[in-house]
Amino acid sequence: MTDLAAAFERLLMPWPFCLMLIGVVLGVMVGAVPGLTGAMLIALTLPLTYTMSDPADAMILLVSMYVGSISGGLISATLLRMPGTPASIMTTLDGHPMAVNGQPGRALGLGVAASFVGGLISWIFLVLLSKPIADLSTHLGAFDFFSLTFMALMLIASVTGNSLSRGVFSGLLGVLASQPGVHPATGDPRMTLGFRELDAGFQLLPVLIGLFAVSQLVREVLRIDEQAETTQYDSSGMWLGAKDWVTHAFNLVRSSLIGVWVGILPGVGANIGSIMAYSAAKGMSKTPEKFGHGSEEGIIASEAANNATVGGALIPLVALGIPGSVIDAILLGALVLHGLTPGPLLFRDNPEVVYTIMATAFVANFAMAVFMLVSIRYLTKLMTAPRAYLVPVISVCCVVGSYAQNNRMFDVWVMLAFGAVGFTMESIKIPLAPFVIGFILAPIAEENLGAGLQASGGSYLPILTSPISLFFCLLAAGLLIWPIFRRIRSPRR
C-alpha cells in the first residue's frame, strides 16, 4: 500500500500530471471521432515514448489515453447518433433519443458519471483482486466462452421492442451479415461471392456507422422543411443529484461488475461488456419499455460497463502479463520496449511501474470526468447547429471514419450499403439494436463453438458437463423464457 501511495504522490508532480492530462484530453478527442481509435492513438504515441527515460512516465501517458478514448465515444454517440467507438454503440440507443428530446446535457452527464463510476469500481478490483481473478479466468475453456456468448446472444430476445418476432428477425439478420469472410474457427473464406475484398467480412465500424449515422442523416434531410424546433437544448441536468445516485446505484454497480468480468476475458471486448450490461439492465428494469427511447438506465448501464472493461482488461495484464484487449497488447509492448518483462514477476521486479499503472487508472478517471463535464456546456450547442451545415460535416466524418480504420474504400461502400439497410429497417419498424448484437456476438460464439468441437473431437456433450458452461446455458434459457413469460402475463397494451 505504501508503494501505491508513493505512485500517487509521483503522479501528482507537475510533469507526470501534465502527461496524464494530455493523455486524457487526446484520448477523449480521438474516442469521439469515428475511425480514430484509442488503439491507433496509443500505437502512434508509443514511438514518442522511447525518448522518455522513465518507463513509468510512458505508462502514465498511454494508460491515460486508454481511459480517455473509451469515454470519448459517448459524446458523438449521444449528440450525433454516430458511435465514435464500437464500445459506445449501446449508448447511442438511449443517449441520442434523450438528446433529441431536449436533454443533451443530462444524457451526457449521465454518461460521464457512469463512465466515472465504472472506471472506479473496476479500479478497486484491479488493485485488490488482480491475482486471484486472473488465475480463475484461465479455467474457462472454449465451450465456456461459447456458452457465455450464447447467453449474451439470447439477450436479443430481451432487448427487442414491442414485437418479439421483429426483434429476433433483426438479430438473425445481424448474425447473417456477420457470416461472409473467413470462417472464425478454420480461417477458410466463405460466402464472399467472389469479392476478394469481402474475405475479411464486413467490418464492425462501417456497419455501425452505416446503420445508425447514415440512416439518421437521411432522416435529418427529410425533416429539413420542419420549422425550428421549439425544444430548448441546454446543458441543464448534467450534474447528478443525490437522488439520481440513489436511484441508479444498483444499476451502476451491476453494470460495472459485468464490465470488469468481460474485460478480464481475452478476446471479448468493451462493446460486448456494454451489450451485456445494457441487456441485464433492461431485463431487470421496472420500465423496460423506455429502453431505446431515452432511458437513463440504458445510458448508465452501457457507459459504466464499457469503462469498467478498462480496469478489467488491465487485471490479466498486470497479474499474468496476458493482454485482455488490443490496447493492452500495445501497453505490454511498451513495457517490453522499455526493457521490462511483463508477467507475474513484474510485481516483484518493478513494483513502481505496476503501481503507477494503477494510480494512473484512478486519477485519469477524475481528469476524464472533469474534462468532459467542462466541455459538455459547449458540446450541447452542436444540437442547435443548423442541419444544412451539420449534415455534410457528419457525412464527411462517416466517410473518412469508415475509410481510415482499414485504409480501404471498400469499407466506405459497406457503410453506405448498411446505411440503406438501416434506413429500410427503421422505416418498417424493425429495431436496430438486436441486429448489432447478433452481428458482434455471432462470430465469437461460432469461433469458440468450433474450437470446442475441434478439442472434443466433435462431441457437444462438454457444453452441458462443464459446470461453468452449464451455468451459462441455464442462464441463457432463463433469459429466453423470461421475456416471453412476462409478455404472456402482462396484458397487451
Binding site: 488503439a39 491507433m40 428477425f169 474457427a185 475479411a200 427529410l222 444544412a388 463453438l449 473431437g457 466433435g458
Partner: protein
Amino acid sequence: MLLLSIGVVSLAATARGEYPDRPIQLIVPFGPGGGTDTYARALKQAIEDHELLPQPLVIVNVPGAGATIGSRRVKNAEPDGYTLLLLHEAIVTAKYSGQADYGSEAFEPIAGTGRIGLVIAVAEKSRYRSLPELLDDAKERPDRLVFAANIGAPVHFVGGMLEKHWPGARFRFTQSGGGEKRLHDLLGRHAAVSAFSLEEYLRYESAGIRAIAYCDEVRSPDAPEIPTTFEQGIPVQHINMQFWWAPKGTPQDRIDVFANALQRAMQNEDVIERMKSIHCEPVFIRGEAMQKEIAARQAAVSAVELRETQELPNVPLYVGIVTGLLGAVVCVQTLRESTSSARRIDWSAYCVRAAIAVIGVTILYAALLSAGIAGFTVATFCYVMQIGVILTRRQAKHLLPLAIVALAMSLGLSSVFTKFFSLVLP
C-alpha cells in the same frame, strides 16, 4: 565496406530526383500495435531519422483475412516501387492453407530482416519433459493430445512438421488464436501443447509454461537452456523472419534502392537495440541468400499436409433458413399493418427531392474518392458545398459560411489524418 559504398552511391543517385520522388507506402497487413506493425514503425523511424531515403515511408495498416487483404493489394498494385509489403511467412502458409490462391511467387522479394525462432511449450506442470516424450504419447494416443494453434497460420504448420518427423504421431489441432489465447489454453489445461515465438515465450514463461524445444539448429543465445529440435533428433526448423516485398515486375534498381536503405537501417544502433529487446537477431539478407531462405520455407511448408479439422456445423445455412422463415412472418405482419395505416410519400416535396439529391451526391463523392479522380481535399470541399447548397435551398447568404465550413473540414481533416496520424486518405 563494399555494401556501404553501394549504399552511398545509391543515395547519391536518389538525390538526383530519381526513385523515390514521392512518399513510399508500406502496407502492413495487420492492425496498428501488433508485432509486425511495431516492427515496421521501428525501421521507419530509423530510415527517417538518418535520412536513408529522400522521401518518407508511410505505413498503411490493411488488416484482415489472415493478412491476405493487404498482400493482395500490393500484388495488384502498380509495380513502380511506391507500394511495398512487409509480411513474414504467412505469405507462404496462406497459399497452402487455402486462404489465398497465390504465394511468395507473386511478389518480387526485396530483403529479409530479423530472425526469431519458435518455441514448443507445455504447461509448467505437464508431464512432458522432452519433445520425443510428447511425440511418443501423440503416437500412442493418436488424435488425443490437443495442440492449440491458429488454424492455417505458421503455428499450425509447425505442428504438422513435428508429426511428419515422427511417423504415427497425430495431434488434435484446435483453433486458439494469438499468443495470449494460446497461453490461456495451456494455463487452463485446455490444450496439451502449443508453439510461441521466443519473444512471446520469454514473456509468458513466468506465468506458468515450460519450453521443451527451440525450433532451430543451434540454441538461442537469449535462452541457452532450451534444447533444440535438432538435438532431440527431430530436424524441424522454424524461424520467423520479416520479408519485404514489391509487386511482381518492379524494376530491379528500385528494389536495390530500398534494400540499401533497409540494410543501413538494420545497422543502426537503435534498431539493433530494439531488436535485442524483442529477442530478435538483427540479421539482414538479400539476393541469393534471401532467395534460398524463401525457397527453403516454401519447401518446408508445402511438405506439410494439413488434415481437415473437425467438421463444424454449417451456421450460415441454418441461420439463413431460420431468417428466411421469420422474414416471411414479419413481411406478412408488416403488410397487414401498412394496409390499415398506409403513409404515402409525397415525391414532389422539396425534402424528398433533397434527400435523393444528397444520396446521389454522396455516392458520387465516394465514387470520385475510390476512383482517385479528385484529391481528398478538393472532393471534400466540393461535396460539403454541394450538400450545403441543396439544404439551404441555394440561398446566397449561406454561401460564405458554408465555404468556410467546407474549407475547414477538408483542410482540417486531411491535416489531422495525414500529418498527425500519418494515415493515407483516398
